[in-house]
């Protein structure tokens, strides 16, 4: 029931969620509640597939996914930061727009409906880590993922360094807490918020690229299937802390992969569907109880 394959498949499957959750965490720290992750990821997935298909290079596909995700997130940046529109409203609308837009484009760009896939479409290859691959268990778990999987782990560390070691991180945490105070010290709230939203767009582009070129090699209407929302939940569970978000995404991915296996022993699919959320809730209760206790003891 629990073996290396379980962890390995969970790690691959949770990568899009992790990228998106990092995007959400980054925005959260700067005081932007970003729920447009789902839609931006979908647009990124489409751009990745289109890019890979037309250039014939999966790397250019990934690059195009990143650029498109960044460009798409401009809607939130302009609407929320410049115009002051409500981030939740914009986020929901951006998600709706992504579904409509990609379904529409799949017709006009690929001349097909619903799903585009082709054996000639270049996807991301698995990378076999030298040395690591030969370690029993660990090798199976850690080796053999796409480059983007490893990149997502690097992104976790990079985010932690940015937030806690880089001046930008200090500033955007400050902006998230009190934008007027940051502004009075000459830190441009607008510029930093644009920055995090656009960087979040790039991360969502990577999420989409991994989903459509790494996990599978195709684009399908609405293929994100709620992963962006799970990312939003992971941001909450991880309290927008880089390692917290990583842990939340891993917890979620494992709960889901484990749920699939539980189906095999006769649990109804509806129960295994709910499992990751219930596990997340329990984790939240436990962690907030612990935080309370440590707070009370000081």
């Amino acid at each position: 029931m629990i073996d290396a394959a379980l962890f390995s498949s969970a790690l691959g499957a949770l990568t899009p969620i992790l990228f998106a959750a990092l995007a959400g965490a980054l925005c959260q720290r700067a005081g932007v509640f970003n729920i447009s992750l789902e839609g931006t990821m979908l647009v990124g997935a489409f751009a990745g597939v289109a890019g890979s298909w037309y250039t014939g290079s999966v790397w250019l596909g990934v690059l195009i996914a990143v650029l498109t995700g960044t460009a798409y997130s401009l809607i939130l940046a302009v609407g929320h930061v410049s115009f002051g529109g409500d981030a939740i409203v914009l986020g929901v609308a951006i998600n709706l727009l992504a579904v409509g837009l990609t379904s529409f484009l799949i017709r006009t760009v690929f001349g097909t409906r619903g799903t585009f896939s082709d054996p000639a479409l270049q996807g991301l290859d698995a990378v076999h880590l030298p040395l690591v691959r030969d370690i029993p268990f660990v090798g199976t778990v850690l080796s053999g993922h796409s480059v983007l999987v490893y990149l997502s782990w690097l992104a976790v560390v990079a985010l932690a360094v940015l937030l806690y070691r880089h001046p930008w991180g200090l500033r955007l945490r400050g902006i998230g807490e009190r934008e007027d105070a940051a502004a009075s010290l000459g830190v441009s709230v607008t510029r930093y918020r644009y920055g995090v939203i656009l960087a979040g767009g790039a991360l969502c582009g990577l999420a989409g690229a991994q989903l459509a070129l790494g996990n599978v090699t195709l684009f399908s209407e609405n293929m994100t299937a709620g992963r962006g929302w799970i990312a939003v939940v992971a941001v909450m569970l991880g309290r927008a802390l880089p390692y917290g978000v990583f842990a939340a995404a891993v917890l979620f991915g494992l709960a889901e992969a484990f749920g699939f296996r539980l189906q095999g022993v006769g649990l109804p699919q509806q129960a295994t569907d709910a499992a990751p959320y219930v596990v997340t809730l329990l984790a939240l209760f436990i962690s907030s109880a612990r935080i309370r206790r440590t707070r009370e003891s000081t």
């Binding site: 809607i75 302009v78 609407g79 929320h80 115009f83 002051g84 529109g85 409500d86 939740i88 409203v89 914009l90 929901v92 609308a93 951006i94 709706l96 727009l97 579904v99 409509g100 837009l101 379904s103 529409f104 017709r107 007027d180 929302w229 939003v232 939940v233 909450m236 569970l237 109804p268 509806q270 129960a271 569907d273 709910a274 959320y277 219930v278 997340t280 809730l281 939240l284 209760f285 907030s288 109880a289 935080i291 309370r292």
Partner: protein, 326 residues
Amino acid sequence: MKTVAVTLLAALALGAILLAATGANPLEAYQAIVTGAFGPDGFQDTLAYAVPVVGMATALAIPLRAGMVNLGGEGQLVLGAISAIAVGLHVPGPLGLVAALVAGVLAGALYASIAAVCETRLGVPLLVTTLLLSYPAMSFAAYLVRFPMRDEGSSLPQSDQLPADVRFTELAPGLFLIAAVVVVYAVVDARTPAGFETRVTGWGPRFAQYAGIDRPALTVRLLACSGGLAGLVGAVVALGFPYRFIDGALITPQYTWIGLLAALLAAANPLGTLVAAVFFAALTSGGFAMERETQVPRELTAVLQAVLIIFLAAATGLLRKRRNPA
């Protein structure tokens, strides 16, 4: 008002360009939306959408007025519906109708209260608990209608049909119920101390605490009202045609999210929420009509709607910025 009009025009212009680019006639398409939403045939459809959308918008506006976001409307809605059906199938006669509605309200209210208690007792933010609790509720209802409560005659994940006397055969009763709730909300909000205290909490948590408002109690009360209303909406929809619970029927039309959009755009103001919700309902039924009447592909309707909402959000943001310069 001028800003809103200008941005609406901009959105329509952008939509027209999109429509024209795909070879459709923008004027015809827009006309189809308007007649589809408000024409003699379409108005009925608009009302049918408006009942759940207005209901959910109001449900989510209630806690939003105090600055609390309930992201779990879907779970509360679905639980309300399935409870109403469960009761309606077993309690006959007009009593069954009332019992079903009450069951819907209670189920939604209790479920939402759990999230409230999680915040007040355990300190887990409402935003998180409401959203997370929503999924198990939906899975639970899906399980019920696939197995224990399944309609034996059908292969669909749906419950049995309600007996003939436990049904809303017309739109009117549901419409009146929801309209009554909206009126009650508006009156309570503007004219009662409880409504005032809710608004005070929305202005600032510290100020509310200082002024002696019992936030934990208020949280539970508001969430119970919010969930109860969401449950009522579920019950009303389930009691209407086709008089049964169909898995996904309350989720795919996005009543909850569209309702949340309306409530947020209107800053939970009762009248504003109503107007925004009706507008979105009209846009939905008009969109379907446009698809039927013209050559416009359905994806484009979705694009058009989303663009409109984005512009609207930006416009209201600008409006609010102007009104309260920081």
